[in-house]
């Protein structure tokens, strides 16, 4: 933000678009302007509906983003701030939860799509039907999705073409069927990608161009990537990263029917006596409470804040939380599992130059049933640590942390290191949950989210299996030294999934196959909370495909007059 206040052309907290009055119902209020909310607001406003898009964080532009690691790396300005919005954590329902920063999500217009790495894997067919194909797992709430890959495929293609994804159709033998090629070729390969190809060929695997939500060519008025190397944890200063902020929000604004209200923190969804949503109460930047009326409500606040808001919206009609007749709101929380292994190489990799990932491996997406492991995963080779972060934590757990030896290691390894990162399934477990903490309040006086979480044993076995594969890959690539971070949960958790799962059975799910809550006919939830199972990491592509599909259906319902008068 070194451009500073003097050059700022706008107030990042000021509403933009038409000036809807809170007392006049708009067609839709959309809560959360991230990967899902940006798509929903764009699609509904382009379909002719009036939309108020509420976002708890600021509205920054591309010119606000920079490469200042010291200022930006942890980005507390654009992520949830654990001093004003603490989490509490426990491993079982018998424990008392203690304050612990676990959940991280981006808190600005564009949400996590602003500062993410931009890996855009589609889910595969297995991800929707794992329960019926591979059977149940003790202690896990495995279930098929109410939709299949084929149902979602057209929307994956829409994401690729409308949001802007680069890649190479048909490169991967494991790729599920697709109706269209990518709209643009992959980004150029880096040394990490060449090494991954070398490793894959030795293991008999396939390293294929990574699908990335980053433009390899100018597209729809946005420029191609300049290869600055600062994707992960940073916003894109040229708009080549296909965030909601760059790709969806401008279209929504261009309709003249979408008002974006940043710095708006929603505290409750209100119902009328018939049990229909009539609007939402939120705090504006000055903590004044405002009630915005609406004919229908979309919650796209992420897999942690969406269930929290439903629980905060408890009422006489829904004493256990809004749309929670199933008792499942907040349950089946999943983060995805990861395993990172570091490798040091003889020659320069210069991983800090250019986009983070150029090749991926999906040979392990579905594992041999003989292994007795549910789920699977994929790999990328990446180097995603800017200088300070690398020096503080990227040398390996046993490396010196000061002294001449430390300096020598820094000197030798910054340009010669990469990480093999396995993106791994995590199983849904009913007791892993988001609930409201009974005592701790946030800076607005609202109960904070309480996490109850313990890995399923399958998670730990998968991590162990992939950890060995990471070493095999790095050795096959020619690493001179490899090392693991000790096993355990990744922190902070950024993939927030499963907490309002979709399904056909209203007793076993929160939303239906169109993301409408079973309990409230004009209340929709679409974001990571809708997931039934967690795939193999990289959820954002699927979140956006679901959002396109849900918005299209809701617009049809609205046209048919099913979502309220007028």
């Amino acid at each position: 933000m070194h451009h500073g206040a003097s050059s700022r052309r706008f107030d990042p907290g000021a509403p933009t678009g038409p000036a809807f009055r809170p007392r006049d119902p708009v067609d839709f209020v959309v809560i959360g302007a991230g990967a899902a909310g940006g798509v929903v607001a764009r699609e509904l406003s382009r379909a002719g509906h009036t939309v108020v898009l509420l976002e708890q964080g600021p509205y920054l532009r591309a010119s606000d983003f920079n490469h200042d690691e010291f200022a930006s790396y942890q980005l507390e300005e654009i992520t949830n701030n654990h001093r004003s919005q603490p989490n509490t954590f426990r491993t079982s329902e018998q424990e008392e939860a203690k304050a612990r920063a676990v959940i991280q999500y981006a808190r600005l217009v564009g949400g996590g799509s602003v500062h993410f790495t931009a890996n855009y894997w589609r889910f595969h067919e297995i991800d929707f039907v794992e329960r019926s194909r591979r059977g149940s797992v003790d202690g896990a709430a495995m279930a098929d999705w109410p939709i299949t890959y084929a149902d979602l495929e057209p929307y994956y293609s829409r994401v690729e073409w409308e949001v802007g994804v680069s890649g190479l159709a048909g490169a991967s033998p494991f790729e599920p069927p697709r109706s269209r090629p990518y709209p643009m070729p992959p980004l150029p390969i880096k040394s990490s990608g060449v090494l991954m190809e070398r490793a894959a060929s030795k293991l008999g695997w396939h390293a294929v161009p990574a699908p990335m939500a980053i433009l390899s060519q100018p597209y729809r008025g946005r420029p191609a990537c300049i290869q600055c190397g600062f994707c992960e944890h940073f916003g894109c200063e040229v708009g080549a990263k296909s965030s909601s902020l760059a790709a969806m929000i401008p279209d929504a604004e261009a309709t003249g029917r979408c008002q974006i209200r940043p710095m708006s923190y929603v505290r409750k969804i209100e119902l009328d006596r018939r049990g229909r949503a009539i609007g939402v109460k939120y705090f504006d930047a000055r903590k004044r409470e405002i009630f915005q009326r609406a004919k229908a409500v979309f919650v796209c606040a992420n897999g942690a804040e969406t269930p929290r808001l439903l629980l905060l919206s408890a009422s006489n009609q829904f004493p256990n939380g809004l749309a929670n007749s199933s008792g499942l709101v907040g349950r089946h929380l999943m983060f995805n599992c990861y395993e990172f292994t570091g490798g040091v190489f003889e020659h320069e990799i210069n991983g800090y130059r250019g986009m983070v990932v150029t090749r991926i491996i999906h040979d392990t997406y579905e594992l041999d049933p003989k292994l007795g492991l549910a789920g699977g995963g994929g790999f990328d080779f990446r180097f995603d640590l800017p200088p300070i972060a690398f020096a503080l934590g990227g040398l390996g757990a046993d490396a010196p942390t000061w002294s001449g030896k430390f300096k020598q290691m820094l000197r030798e390894s910054y340009t010669h290191t990469l990480f093999s990162l396995a993106h791994i399934s995590q199983l849904p477990v009913a007791t892993n949950s988001i609930s409201l903490d009974p005592t701790v309040r946030d800076a607005w006086g609202l109960p904070v989210m309480r996490l109850t979480f313990k890995e399923h044993p399958n998670d730990e076995r998968l991590i162990e299996w992939f950890s060995q594969k990471n070493v095999e890959l790095l050795n096959a690539a020619g690493a001179t030294r490899t090392w693991h971070f000790p096993p355990g949960r990744v922190y902070p958790e950024v993939h927030l999934l499963g907490t309002c799962r979709m399904g056909n059975d209203k007793q076993a799910s929160v939303v239906d196959r169109w993301h409408r809550t079973h309990d409230v006919p004009n209340l929709f939830l679409v974001d990571g909370s809708s997931f039934v199972t967690g795939g193999r990491g990289q959820p954002t592509m699927t979140i956006q495909a679901l959002a396109f599909r849900a918005a299209e259906h809701a617009a049809q319902m609205a046209r048919r007059g099913e979502l309220g008068a007028g």
């Binding site: 070194h2 690691e69 507390e76 954590f89 130059r353 313990k454 949960r489």
Partner: protein, 191 residues
């Protein structure tokens, strides 16, 4: 989320916990404040010359000078001192108490030593190992802030002439074309 404490991201995220977090998160406010003209560094140093001398001696052991510049040539102490006067003012007591304690410990090691900087190299290193073994908050704060100052943008007062970035091979060009590294030099030619 087992109790095994260290994973890659919380290891890296040492930055996001405890003291390091305060330093980093506090620093976030700096560019905003500087832009608004309220966070300009104070006219003079925050710490006393004696405190700065000891701080310099400690940071010069964390990233020593050899054939390449270290913390001293990067003016890490200026970075820390500026921080303690502005965005990290809340950590000033920790540094002042830590430096006072350091002087006491130095005197205990050698009767003639009035300050840490007066000790010979072996005794200095031994004393830092002692602090490290005690999980000293002060030592961790100096270590993290030294490394941070060594590698942060030079506009914050450290990393003078980009010596930290040069040491590790980081070029602040922020726009690249293939080839990016040694291994893709042929790939980019054929594409």
């Amino acid at each position: 989320m087992s109790d095994i404490p260290v994973t890659r991201r919380n290891f890296v995220g040492a930055m996001a916990t405890g003291l390091a977090a305060t330093w980093i998160a506090g620093a976030w406010r700096a560019p905003m404040a500087l832009a608004a003209g309220t966070g300009t560094p104070a006219a003079g140093p925050t710490l006393t010359p004696a405190q700065l001398r000891d701080l310099d001696a400690v940071s010069a052991l964390i990233i020593p000078t050899d054939d390449a510049p270290g913390a001293r040539e990067a003016h890490v102490v200026d970075f820390i001192d500026r921080g303690l006067g502005t965005f990290a003012a809340d950590q000033r007591p920790l540094f002042e108490q830590g430096l006072a304690d350091l002087a006491v410990r130095a005197a205990r090691r050698h009767a003639d030593a009035k300050a840490f900087a007066d000790l010979d190299a072996d005794n200095q290193i031994a004393l830092l190992h002692e602090l490290e073994a005690e999980h000293s908050e002060f030592f961790e704060a100096v270590r993290v802030s030294t490394i941070t100052g060594f590698l942060a943008d030079p506009k914050y007062g450290g990393n003078t002439d980009k010596v930290g970035w040069k040491l590790i091979g980081f070029e602040d060009r922020f726009a690249w074309q293939p080839p990016f590294g040694w291994y893709d030099r042929d790939a980019s030619r054929s594409e």
